[in-house]
């Protein structure tokens, strides 16, 4: 998971309800498709930072294991921060597919359909601007121009990916923007 995503995941999951650290870990594991297990060394310091920033509160509870559960609850400030991150993603969140999907995972928590639509619209605009992995003389290269077979493949796959995502975005925006 790219940097910064962990904080969003924690805020997003706690936005669905209070839970303790170990459960957060399991839920993030489910969300990311078993690919990137969250390490304890990343999770617990991240929780501590959020607590220190007043975005999360904790209260102890007996658990089934040894260490007592630290049940985490999103504060009002925490929910505001979650909404802010969902409402005003930075350019990187919009341009990087992994990060954008990180946003999408929790976008339904944004309590404003127009704001949801604005985020999707930004992504669609980004996908529509002619782009490529490879540039020659400032212009994006077409797949057909790329001699390297593996790089050509990347462009072909990226094109198919972009097409599929644009189609979906257009569909869902048609529903959201009446």
């Amino acid at each position: 998971m790219a940097s910064g995503d962990l904080t969003l995941s924690i805020l997003g999951l706690l936005g669905e309800g209070p839970m303790h650290g170990y459960e957060l870990k399991a839920r993030i594991h489910q969300l990311s498709g078993h690919i990137r297990p969250v390490s304890d060394g990343a999770l617990y310091p991240a929780i501590a930072r959020l607590e220190k920033a007043g975005l999360v509160e904790r209260h102890e509870e007996e658990g089934t294991g040894a260490a007592r559960r630290q049940v985490l609850t999103l504060t009002d400030a925490g929910r505001a921060e979650l909404h802010r991150r969902l409402r005003e993603p930075d350019d990187l969140d919009i341009s990087d597919q992994t990060r954008f999907f990180g946003l999408l995972t929790f976008l339904s928590q944004l309590p404003d359909r127009a704001a949801q639509a604005r985020v999707l619209r930004r992504r669609l605009d980004f996908l529509r601007t002619p782009a490529s992995f490879f540039y020659e003389g400032g212009r994006p290269q077409r797949a057909e121009e790329v001699p390297d077979p593996f790089r050509r493949g990347m462009l072909l796959v990226a094109r198919a990916t972009g097409t599929a995502e644009k189609r979906w975005l257009e569909e869902i925006l048609a529903e959201l923007e009446p």
Copy 2:
């Protein structure tokens, strides 16, 4: 660009020929589609690390600008390391699309078609194992089962993406594995 990718990019670009840091920066910029400009604070320390590790050698050359160009050349050890990274990518390089594309960018430098094919085969195997962003009770969820419209969209897009990439991998593997 995800962590560790920068080193691979430098090794891969220098594998195509000697160049100085500023040119590396421009080339990486071209490769990544203008999304993530490499910062000087990441690039020059990365070069210094590679030099210290004996993977890269530098010799000065007059440049058009003020500071003298530090022309970088891949050593034999550097080329060996590049090949090792291309030949034996870790699981993260195979499972993460951004990272896998980072590999693909330089895969043609691997001087062994069978080894190239093995890398592509690993990616294809990964894409073929049933997976999803979301798991319920250990099983990947189908798009149709996901009530959240944004998460459902992610799955639809991911499915289309996977299909396109599998098709391409099958094609190119048919050429590489006679």
